[in-house]
Each structure stands twice: as structure tokens, then as C-alpha cells.
Amino acid sequence: MKPVVDRLKQEYDGKVEFRIYDVDKSSEGQELMRRYGAQYVPTFVFVNSDGAEVNRAVGEVSEDEMRRLLDSLE
């Protein structure tokens, strides 16, 4: 997943903020996972600028699906 996410992070720079957490190393990441009720890794949570979660994906996500989810953000 990392190459896909890295590529999309560059492509969506300025449009979507990517916050990436290694939950083994980041207590902040662990707390955010709890906050969002995520239980498994990898989990991707898509949040609009007003703070509303609009989508989430668990496990391997294709690049096309990831683009669709990112494009749905407002």
C-alpha cells in the first residue's frame, strides 16, 4: 500500500491532508484509532473539512478505489 499512498499523497497535495500513523509506534495514532472506532490495520478513514467521516476502508485498497474515496471528500 505504501507506494500507492505515497503517490496519492503527492497528487492530492493541497487538496487532502494525509495523516499517517504507525500504531505500533504512535500513541497518538492508537488514540485516534480508538476515537474513530477502528479496530484493524490498515484502516483508512476519510474525513471532510467539517470533521464528518464520510468513508472508511479496511485492508488492501486498490489505487482506483482510493482515488474514488479521496475524490468524494469535500
Partner: protein
């Protein structure tokens, strides 16, 4: 003895050997992929449950009573275990646990249940770690939409 008799007796011997091998296996033994529902029954029966994910993943949530034995320590930890004790193995999606099952089978563990669909498919109760982590300061929404990725380096 002609070739036909050799083939017949060879076939009989093959069937007898396979039958003997199967009869020597413990009831319910070997490796069995199990559904979440069957895994739930096994947990209720008290089968030893092994979570081969990382400590961070385990901390977030795990099957009640599961022991956390990450893949990188499985070899050393499992060497102390009773090989006749049934085990239920799982990870997130079944990928890492499949490797663990292959390893444990090669090490002589007799009865291994594999939650092949992973904890993602688990619909029973879950336990969480008791550690309380302060709420981070920067979780407020920004000016732009946000994609959070929660992952681990495995």
C-alpha cells in the same frame, strides 16, 4: 509378477498407507480453516488462542483470552509449547496467520485451527488494552479534508 499385478498391489499398498496415516492422526487434528462462528465455539470451549499480530494491533482489540505472540517471536515462544495442545491462530486478514500455521505444523503441532478470514471477520466480543493514552492535541479538523491511515510496519 506381471506389470498389471504390480500396479494392483501398488495401489492397494498406497491406500493402506494413506488409511494408516489418517487413522494415526488425532480426532479433529491437523490444520483446519475455521469460520468465525466455529472459532467462537472453540474460544468458548477454551481452546488456546494465539494472536500473531504486532503488540500495537493487539492492544487495539483482540479476541478475549488471546495471547499475543507476534510473528517475529513465534519461533522462540512456540518452542516451549505442548505440541498436543490445540491452537486457534489468527491475525487481521489471515495472511500472516497462514504463515504461522505453516510454521507451527512443520514444528509438529498436532491440531491447529486457523481463523482464515482473520479478525476482520470476527463477530464475537473483543477485548481492548487497558492503557489510557491522552487525547492528542491535533485531532481537530483542518481547513482541508483529511485521510487518516492507521497502519503498522509488518
Amino acid at each position: 509378477m506381471d506389470l498389471r499385478k504390480v500396479l494392483i498391489w501398488g495401489g492397494v499398498a498406497f491406500v493402506v498407507i494413506i488409511g494408516a496415516v489418517l487413522l494415526m492422526r488425532p480426532a479433529g487434528g491437523g490444520v483446519q480453516d475455521v469460520s468465525p462462528a466455529r472459532a467462537n465455539e472453540l474460544v468458548a470451549e477454551g481452546v488456546r488462542v494465539i494472536d500473531v499480530r504486532t503488540p500495537g494491533e493487539y492492544e487495539l482489540s483482540h479476541i478475549p483470552g488471546a495471547e499475543n505472540v507476534p510473528m517475529d517471536s513465534l519461533g522462540s515462544v512456540a518452542s516451549e509449547w505442548d505440541r498436543s495442545e490445540p491452537l486457534l491462530i489468527y491475525c487481521t486478514t489471515g495472511a500472516r496467520s497462514a504463515q504461522a500455521v505453516t510454521y507451527l505444523e512443520a514444528q509438529g503441532f498436532e491440531t491447529i485451527y486457523h481463523l482464515a478470514a482473520g479478525i476482520i471477520a470476527w463477530d464475537g466480543d473483543l477485548e481492548r488494552g487497558s492503557e489510557i493514552v491522552p487525547m492528542p492535541a491535533d485531532v481537530t479538523p483542518g481547513a482541508a479534508p483529511v485521510m487518516y491511515e492507521f497502519s503498522t510496519d509488518w
